[in-house]
Amino acid sequence: MITVENLSHHFELGKRGNQTRIPVLHDISFEIKQGEIVTIIGRSGSGKSTLLNLISGFIRPIAGDIFITDTNVTKFNETQFADFRLDNIGFIFQNFQLIPSMTAFQNVELPLILKGLSEKERKKITDETLKRVGLEAYHTHYPSELSGGQQQRVSIARALVLNPPIILADEPTGSLDSETEADLLNFIQQLNQEMGITFLIITHDKEVANIGNRSIEIQDGRLVQGGSAS
């Protein structure tokens, strides 16, 4: 489903001519099969987010290739990557990333709008999805009127609404208390089992890492464990 080959990345800081290079990822290779839940663990600053951002196309790698559903996404231009994300990848972010001026319904509906679906279809799918995450009573609530756990469920609904084969999550429980965290982890497992969605989840929390089929560990930008599927 996701194959990363010899991926390396560094950032350049400072003005031109006086740049310092910050190496972040060194020669990372791993593979994730369809239907797996894989967690990426590692200390803060080890390069986990950078790895996920590379897979998402938010930044472009210095070297190496990334294949998602057998497509080499590193060759994509921005528009191609955007379309690809819309069709194939759902995102769950640590701080939810909901649009504050939109209601829960509108936030979840957004990918469907981008996809160009008709209003009727959108209403039906959005209703279903909100119901799925248990927010059928919160359609007209704005993010500021929802608890952290509810906001995260809105963002999950948004990630699910176009039925993507893959969901990427960067520290999804980072802003949640332990009880909501457990709920969320259960829900992820449920989605994985019922819908066969492949999950790639970043965490620095060993407990969260336990929900996965396996963990990939990164230390100082190097993959130290779990590179190949078992």
């Binding site: 921005e78 379309d83 994300r85 819309l86 069709d87 972010f93 909901l98 981008l114 160009g116």
Partner: protein, 447 residues
């Protein structure tokens, strides 16, 4: 994302900063109004002048008043020229007039008048579509038609010395006018001939009136002309033994001036034909006058003036566009986090760009719409109020149809196009900036 959704999105976004959008629309509306009202003066005066010119002469008419012979000498238009004109494709009809070289006295029963006499080949007039006030064109050699004012200028032949014939305006008093139906009446007129040694001889001719010409376009023109046939001219000439019924025998060396037609009018199908024909005949050495050639110059002059006014107006629109640029830049900055999220979940740069371009275009369009409406209101007010003021100043009414400001649809199209182009240009940089927003920075609220 469908166009409809983009538009709804834009509407939602605009609602979030109503005041700012309102001020921006106001500025572009004012600029658009300024542009239209300014240029409308050019359009209005142009229309007024054109109307004036069109009223004066028939628009499809070309007047030809001579040409040059082989030696470069001026000569009148002759029969061969007219035949040539008739052979041209663009020429619909040719009418000719020969001026009789004396002004005979016409007598109808008890009344008489001294009238100019013109010779016409009436079939040319018929082709040209001459309109008669009454009656019909002559069909026999001794038939004539008379000018519109012929009848009312017929004065009684015999009156008592002390009876006043004319009123204070110089018109013949009603009770002394000829009251019979003039059509079908027999007219007699006297042609004179010089016999030498201060001796004159004269002969009376007779003709029947079959029609009355239409009222002249200009109110102040008095037309008492009598139009006779070529055959009648021939019999007059055979009596006077001169061309065109000259009382005195001519001198041969001036032949090119007194032979040929005095007036020749070509009629074409439409203005472009007239223009083409005018140029062609000028190139062939004919002396030509047409309203079209005059119109061309008027049009060039006014088009330059209008372009100048539109240019000045465009400067106002450019100034307003700074406002749009500013508004859109702020909108992009404010919405950067949202844009970042949208890009992250799969909005393409193109979609983002289109949304912002749509917003600036919408602002421009609203501005142009309100601007146009206000411009129309101002234009009507100007056309209503300025004549009142001028009449107050000069103390007499202004001529009808005087227009200071006119807004034809072409001006609206030009102004709206300018507004839209300028807003799209001023909105394109902020829109481009929106597409360049870095997803990660935006989601970290770093923009």
């Amino acid at each position: 994302m469908t166009g409809k959704d983009k538009f709804r999105f834009v509407r939602q976004n605009m609602k979030k900063s109503k005041m700012r959008i309102f001020m921006t629309v106001l500025a572009s509306a004012m600029a658009c109004t300024f542009l239209i009202v300014l240029a409308s003066v050019g359009f209005g005066l142009h229309q007024t002048v054109l109307r004036d010119v069109m009223e004066e002469d028939a628009i499809n008419e070309i007047s030809i008043y001579g040409t040059e012979d082989e030696d470069g000498q001026y000569r009148n238009i002759n029969k061969e020229d007219v035949e040539y004109f008739r052979s041209l494709d663009d020429v619909r009809a040719v009418s000719t007039l020969i001026y009789l070289n004396q002004q005979p006295e016409y007598i109808v029963d008890t009344h008489h008048i001294h009238a100019n006499t013109r010779v016409s080949e009436f079939f040319g007039e018929e082709q040209a579509g001459i309109q008669l006030e009454a009656g019909e064109l002559p069909s026999a050699a001794n038939e004539i038609i008379v000018g519109y004012h012929f009848l009312q200028n017929l004065s009684p032949i015999e009156t008592d010395e002390d009876v006043e014939v004319y009123d204070e305006n110089g018109n013949i008093l009603d009770e002394l006018r000829y009251t019979e139906d003039i059509i079908g009446q027999t007219v007699s007129f006297t042609i004179e001939k010089y016999m030498g040694d201060d001796e004159f001889e004269s002969k009376v001719f007779e003709a029947v009136i079959t029609g009355i010409t239409e009222q002249p376009a200009r109110e102040w023109v008095e037309d008492t002309t009598v139009y006779i046939t070529e055959e009648m001219l021939a019999s007059i000439e055979s009596y006077t033994e001169t061309t065109k019924g000259n009382i005195y025998p001519e001198e041969d060396e001036y032949e090119q001036y007194y032979t040929g037609y005095d007036d020749v009018y070509l009629y074409s199908h439409s203005l472009p034909h007239v223009e083409a024909l005018t140029t062609q005949l000028q190139d062939e050495g004919y002396y030509v006058y047409s309203v079209a050639s005059q119109l061309k110059e008027i049009n060039i002059l006014f088009n330059i003036a209008k372009a100048g006014l539109i240019f000045i107006g465009t400067i106002a629109v450019l100034i307003a566009s700074i406002g749009i640029y500013n508004t859109m830049t702020m909108a992009v900055t404010e919405r950067a986090p949202d844009i970042g999220i949208m890009k992250a979940i799969g909005a393409s740069p193109k979609t983002i760009k289109q949304i912002f371009l749509l917003e600036s275009t919408y602002i421009g369009l609203l501005g142009a719409l309100f601007g146009t409406i206000v411009a129309y209101i101002i234009s009507y007010s100007v056309n209503f109020i300025i004549p009142l003021i001028l009449e107050g100043v000069y103390g007499e009414p202004l001529p009808d149809g005087l227009k200071f400001s006119a807004i034809p649809w072409t001006l609206v199209v030009i102004a709206v196009t300018i507004c839209l182009i300028v807003t799209i240009i001023s909105g394109s940089r902020p829109a481009k900036k929106a597409t360049k927003i870095d997803v990660l920075k935006a989601m970290r609220r770093e923009i």
